[in-house]
Each structure stands twice: as structure tokens, then as C-alpha cells.
């Protein structure tokens, strides 16, 4: 067990946070619980030896929290009452239990936790990245050498998707606020 027990505790914390975020009535506390999930995820990344991801996740979570609070605060939230549709709820529960069973069944075909595929397959691409990354690209951080040299197309696609998403958000939001933008365009 050893170091895994911390990961275990962190995952249980994440699941509890997610349950609170789903089930609580007030939107603001729901959003804040989502923030707790994100910070727990950052700790899990740190325990899984991914420091790059931990830094990015913690900063992204802060910004996402600010955006979500901006969207929900001050809106009058009427808690959705009305009768619960028991038939559809039971169908959804059955579906989710079936999903869970299929998932548990299919996780047996994976390698055991803690033995990545690079240790089983000798000629996996990651082995070559780890072995030659420093000498070929000169970057000591292998993750950076993968995203910006070996697989830079991935980053180019990411930049395109981010650009499009931000452009979409600006287009959706800016109809009545053109004068505020400076007017020079």
C-alpha cells in the first residue's frame, strides 16, 4: 500500500466533493464544491508524479471558479420543485448501475494499477521519448519536449480549439456591448 493510501484518500475526498456539488440545492455552494473537486484533483496529480498538470490544474480551477461564480451570483435561483418523475429516475439509476458493472468487468482486462504500458511493451513510443528526449531536443522536461517537439501538431490543434472556443464565447456575449469594447474596430 504505502504511498497509494494517500491517493485513495484523495480520490474519496474528490468523490465526496462531487456528490455535494451534484446534490446541494444552492447553486453557489455547488460551484464551490466543484472548486474543492478541482483542488483535490490537483493534489491527485501531484501524487501521481505529474507536477506540470498540478500547476495547470490549480490555476485553471481558480479561473473556472471565478467564471462560474460570475455566472451564478446574483441570479435569483428558484429551486426546481414539482414532482419527481420516478419512472425516468429509476431508468437512469438502472442505466448507471449497468454502466458501473460493465466498467468493473472491463477494468479487469487492463494492466494492474502501477504497471504502465511502457514497462510491458518495449517499443512503446514513450520509451523512445524518455530515452532520447534530452539528447535530441535539449529539453530536460520530457513533457515539454513531447508537446512542443515530438507532437507539436497536438498543440497546434489545441491552440485552434481554444481560439475557436474563446471566439465563440466572445461572439455569444458581445452583442449589446460593442461600444464598451473601445469602438475603434
Amino acid at each position: 500500500m504505502g504511498e497509494e493510501i494517500y491517493l485513495f484518500i484523495t480520490l474519496i475526498f474528490i468523490i465526496l466533493g462531487a456528490l455535494v456539488a451534484v446534490e446541494t440545492r444552492s447553486l453557489l455552494s455547488s460551484v464551490i464544491s466543484l472548486g474543492a473537486v478541482g483542488f483535490g484533483l490537483s493534489i491527485a496529480f501531484l501524487l501521481l508524479m505529474a507536477p506540470d498538470l498540478a500547476i495547470v490544474q490549480i490555476a485553471v480551477e481558480v479561473i473556472l471558479l471565478i467564471f462560474l461564480i460570475r455566472a451564478t451570483i446574483g441570479r435569483d435561483v428558484v429551486p426546481t420543485t414539482g414532482h419527481i418523475n420516478w419512472i425516468s429516475l429509476s431508468i437512469v439509476s438502472l442505466l448507471i448501475v449497468a454502466f458501473l458493472l460493465i466498467g468493473i468487468y472491463s477494468f479487469r482486462s487492463l494492466l494492474e494499477f502501477g504497471t504502465p504500458i511502457i514497462s510491458a511493451v518495449g517499443e512503446a513510443p514513450s520509451n523512445s521519448y524518455i530515452e532520447n528526449g534530452l539528447s535530441r531536443t535539449g529539453a530536460a522536461n520530457i513533457v515539454t519536449s513531447v508537446i512542443l517537439d515530438y507532437r507539436a501538431y497536438d498543440t497546434l490543434g489545441e491552440a485552434t480549439v481554444l481560439f475557436t472556443a474563446i471566439l465563440g464565447a466572445l461572439t455569444v456575449l458581445r452583442v449589446r456591448s460593442r461600444r464598451e469594447l473601445g469602438g475603434r474596430r
Binding site: T137, A140, L148, D149, L156, L170, S177, R179, E180
Partner: protein, 162 residues
Amino acid sequence: MKGMTLIVKTVTRWVKVFIFLYGIYLTITGHLTPGGGFAGGVVIACSYILLTLAYGREFALKNLSLGKASVFDSSGVLLFLIVALLGIGFGGIFFANFLQARYPGEEFALFSSGTIPIYNIAILLKVGASLFNVFVILSILRIVVEKDGSKKMVAEGDREEE
């Protein structure tokens, strides 16, 4: 939007420089230590968002207007693409690391690994500017309740003039 209290403003005045420097540090040493363009960009966007929240929107827009932020955003993508296209000219293939092939720097030095720091800076510009842009647009719009009870969302500047 006049900003927050004096305590928040004073703390922000001291802290903003360090957050900004931390973002730049993460980016330019992204090929040696954990970090990189994504983390640096998001942290720099965080510093501007802190400035906006503490001092109000006008102060932040005086530092970095929306037009400038859009220019930074687009120039980040353009820098990324231009360096990638230069790889065709000098190295033969798209995204070739031609600087590393010609001037291999010393390992673990700051100026090493060719084009990777340039890509990092391009991503920093792109991510930071675009997130700041979206935040400012989100903070401009707010809801007013009209006289007949219907709600309407207007830009903040419009309401003050009416």
C-alpha cells in the same frame, strides 16, 4: 465597479508583481522545470483578473485594453505558426526544431533546446490574453430589472448613461 476595500487593494499592489513574475518564470524555464506556456499563461491571466477584481475594470483596462489583448492573442498563434513554418525552410519539415540542430545549446542551460522556448512564449501570449479577454467581457454584462419587472442584461456603461 469601484473595486474592493483598502486592504485588498494594498495586498494586491504587493502581490501582483510576484504573480506576474511567477508566470514569466514558469514560461521561460518551461523546458527545464515543471511549468510551460499553458501554466504561465493561466497564471498571468490570474494576475490580471486579480487586478480587475481589486481595482475595478477601468484600472485594468488602462493597463491592458481589450484591443491590445486581442492583438496579443492573435500574435501568439501567428508566432507559433511562423516558427513552425520556418521549420520547413530551415529544417525540411513542418515543426522541425531547426535551432537545436544548428546551435545546440548546453544541456540544462536557459538558452537551450532551440525553438521550444519560443513556442512556450507564443502559447503564453495566446492563453493569457484570451482568458483575460473573456473575463473582461463576462464582467461587463450585468442584469438590470426594468420598471415592468422584466430582466434585461446590458453592458455596464450603457446603464450609467441612461
